[in-house]
Structure formats: structure tokens, C-alpha cells
Symmetry: C2
Subunit: 234 residues, 2 copies
DNA sequence: GTCTATAGCTGGATAGAC
DNA sequence: GTCTATCCAGCTATAGAC
């Protein structure tokens, strides 16, 4: 029940996105408590009061941002399932997570800071949906072990290892770039990291790494399929 | 040139430690900007003005804390060198880092948050001492590869993998405990994490993991040696 | 829906009594 | 060296003109 005729929802949405994008930057740089609504407003180019009009208070804005992040991740990662070949699934999962860290580094960083500080806003999500997700995946991995498809490694720790080693390149971006004396990641860096982590982790599982070419072929296939579904958003 | 006769240095030191310990807690929970001097003072049980007397300002207090952290890490990890057996060195390094994450989780978390936020206080350290440290270690690892002692894996990424997968259990403690439905880590958890990561990473390097027993024997040896040096601090 | 002005409070830091 | 009282800049949030 908005007061304007039509179309104005578009302005609201655009403002919304601007504010959320600005908030993401500020929260990464200064943390939740350390970020001021004024700084977000300045970065988004709107008066401070407007943010309160849109989101009521700082906690709601932060919550909206976290939901955005989790939604994006779920959309991308939900593609990964129902292939009975462990090597292909693990490879795809590892490389997709690395690509996510590359395309959404700030999302990963905000999530990381939230967890490090004790997950005050995400405790329910972690002990609910996330725990459930891990339970399901460990059952799949355990079934691979029982079928003799992979070595007997602890499924839960395997998931933690994939999470930590991939997210590291987003969360500790500053350290990685500074230590390796680079300005920023390039496409080739992302592929090489994928090569390395796939190689290490799959060998640890007693599997033969499918390699970079197999992944690129798979992604190209998906891209072609997605195009053919006719997504036409500008 | 202090104004009191003698012994008062002990009081100052005790206060200093209390303040640093309180600051560690608060900085972990709320980040640098989000932490108030009042909160630190309350937790340390001293008037706020005393902290300013001891540390002059918030930035100095934070810097002192970071220096404390880096000193502790250097002391513990500098023991690890000069063994020409890659499997033993890597195993010891992995398990020592996990133990550090267990004994000093807050130190790891503060360091992580500092890096995630762009390392405003530690950029010099990273591009200086830390980069140098990585350079040296990669040369050692590369010499192992050249000598055919381990598989040809990227030395830098190997170091990042060990860092990320071990620190994960400190930094993401909340997530790990919540997902695995545990209250806190126990001794056995630490050993099992060591078993898992040693197994995965050393196999990835084409090495045979020495295993838990080898590590425990080594640590017991060191403890005995340390005792025999006659350290008598209360 | 948008923005200015401001209330009400907490922040870091210091002056000055003890 | 210690602590109380206080300054003032900056904070979140809202009231109310437009």
C-alpha cells in the first residue's frame, strides 16, 4: 500500500540497493558498531534520515545485508548436488566457492566478522539452516566412504577445510596480496588457486583431480544452458 | 625515571596486563572502533582515565595488544626450523598452529579482524616481516621440491592453506561449535583436528603423515628439555 | 517520500583535586 | 600514580517542514 501511483517502487528499489551497497563497504571497513549511519548515507548519497525511513534502524539494515549475502550464496551453491561422482562434485564446489570469494569478497568478509564476533545476528541461522546443510552433506560424503569411492576422512572437517581454504582468499585478501606483492587478483590467479586447492584436497580424499579443463567445460555448458532459458533482465 | 622508590613497577605491570586482557575481550566482541574505553575500563576494574594515563590513547592500546600477539606467535613458532625432514616439519607446524588457535583464540580473532578490515595498523608488518618470513619458507619448500622430497605444489599457496585451515578453528570457533553442536573444544578435538589436517595436507604433498604419536613424543621431549633448563618463574 | 534541524546520549580525551 | 568531574565531538534516532 504505497502512496504513489506506480513505478515509484523502482526509485525505492534503486535507493535500497545504493544504501545496501554503501553499507557493505562501511561495515567491512569499520565493523557493525564502528560504522556510522552518517558514513553510509554519505557514501550512498542520501540524507541520513532516509536510511532510517527505509530500514528503521541500524540493526535492520545490517540484518537486510546479511540476508542478501546468504541468499546470494544459496542461489549459487544450490546448483551443486546430485552428481554421484565425488571428484566432480568436490571440484565444482571448491572452484565455485573460490569464484564467489573473488566476485563477492565483501560479502565473505562481513560474514566472517559476524562469526568472529560471536555471531550475534546469525546464531539462529548457524544452529538451524547451516547445521542442517552440513548434516546433509556429511551424510552424502559418508555414503561415498561406505561405498569405497573416497578415502575415510572426517566429512565435517573436510567441509570446514574447503570453507576455510577457499574463503581465505576473500577474507585475508589484504594479507595475500601484500605477501605476494600483487595489486589485485586476476582471472589467472583464481584459476591457479582452484588448481592448487582441488589438487590438494582431492588427493587427500584419495581422488584424481579432474583439473581445470574439466571445470571450464562444465561452466561453459551451464552458461550455454542458462542463456537458452531466455533470461532477459537488463 | 619513575617517582616511587621501587617495587611499584609491579603494580603498573599488573594493571597493564589487566587492561590488555580486558581490551582483548572487548576488541574481539566489538571491533576496534566499536569498543569503548569505558567498557575496557569497567572490565579491567580501573577508572577510564587510568587507561589513558597508561596508554595515552585508544590506538596505542590497540597497537600494544597487536604487538603482544605477534610476539607470542613468534616465540612459539620460531622453534620450528632446521629439521630437514619435510614430513616432520610440516606436521609440527600444522599441529603447533592448531594448538595456538586453541590456547589463544582471541589473539587469532583480533588479528583476523585487523586483516579483514584492510590491516590499517599492520600493513607495514605484513609487507615487511611477514612477507620476508613467507619468502624464506617458500625457498625451503622449493628446495624440497627440487630435491624430490615432496610433490611439486605451489609453496606460497601451501603456506596459505596451512594458515587458513588451522586458524579457522579459532576464528570461526562459534560456527564450528554451533554446527557440531558442542559447547567448547576439548583436548581430544584438538588432536583429532591435527590428525585430519596433517593427513590431508601431507598426503597432498605426497608425504606419509607421521601421525599423532610422533607429534606427542616430540612435544614431550621438548617439555622435558625445557624443564631441565631450570625455568623457575612462579 | 524527502530532507533539515535537533533531541538525547555516549564517545575519547583531559584538567585538576587528592 | 589515582580518580572524579567535565568538555565537546560524534553517535542514533526522530520531529516536523516541505
Amino acid at each position: 500500500m504505497s502512496t504513489q501511483k506506480y513505478k515509484t517502487g523502482a526509485i525505492r528499489e534503486r535507493n535500497n540497493e545504493n544504501i545496501l551497497a554503501a553499507a557493505e563497504q562501511e561495515f567491512v571497513l569499520h565493523g557493525f558498531k564502528g560504522t556510522s549511519m552518517q558514513a553510509i548515507a554519505d557514501r550512498a548519497g542520501v540524507p541520513k534520515a532516509n536510511i532510517h525511513y527505509y530500514f528503521k534502524n541500524k540493526g535492520n539494515l545490517y540484518r537486510a545485508l546479511l540476508e542478501n549475502i546468504l541468499t546470494t550464496w544459496n542461489e549459487v551453491l544450490s546448483d551443486i548436488n546430485s552428481d554421484s561422482d565425488p571428484a566432480r562434485i568436490l571440484s565444482l564446489f571448491i572452484r565455485t566457492k573460490i569464484r564467489l570469494s573473488y566476485t563477492h569478497p565483501n560479502a565473505s568478509k562481513i560474514f566472517a566478522m559476524e562469526i568472529i564476533q560471536g555471531a550475534p545476528y546469525l546464531k539462529d541461522y548457524i544452529s538451524g539452516a547451516m547445521r542442517q546443510w552440513v548434516r546433509e552433506k556429511t551424510l552424502v560424503i559418508q555414503s561415498w566412504i561406505d561405498a569405497g569411492k573416497i578415502r575415510a576422512v572426517d566429512p565435517t572437517h573436510l567441509i570446514f577445510m574447503i570453507w576455510s581454504s577457499t574463503q581465505h582468499y576473500a577474507d585475508f585478501e589484504t594479507q595475500v596480496l601484500e605477501v605476494t606483492n600483487k595489486r589485485q587478483y586476476e582471472e589467472d590467479d583464481i584459476l591457479r588457486i582452484g588448481d592448487f586447492l582441488e589438487d590438494m584436497i582431492l588427493r587427500g580424499c584419495g581422488l584424481t583431480p579432474p583439473g581445470r579443463a574439466a571445470y571450464l567445460a562444465l561452466v561453459d555448458d551451464q552458461a550455454a544452458t542458462t542463456d537458452s532459458t531466455g533470461i532477459t533482465e537488463a
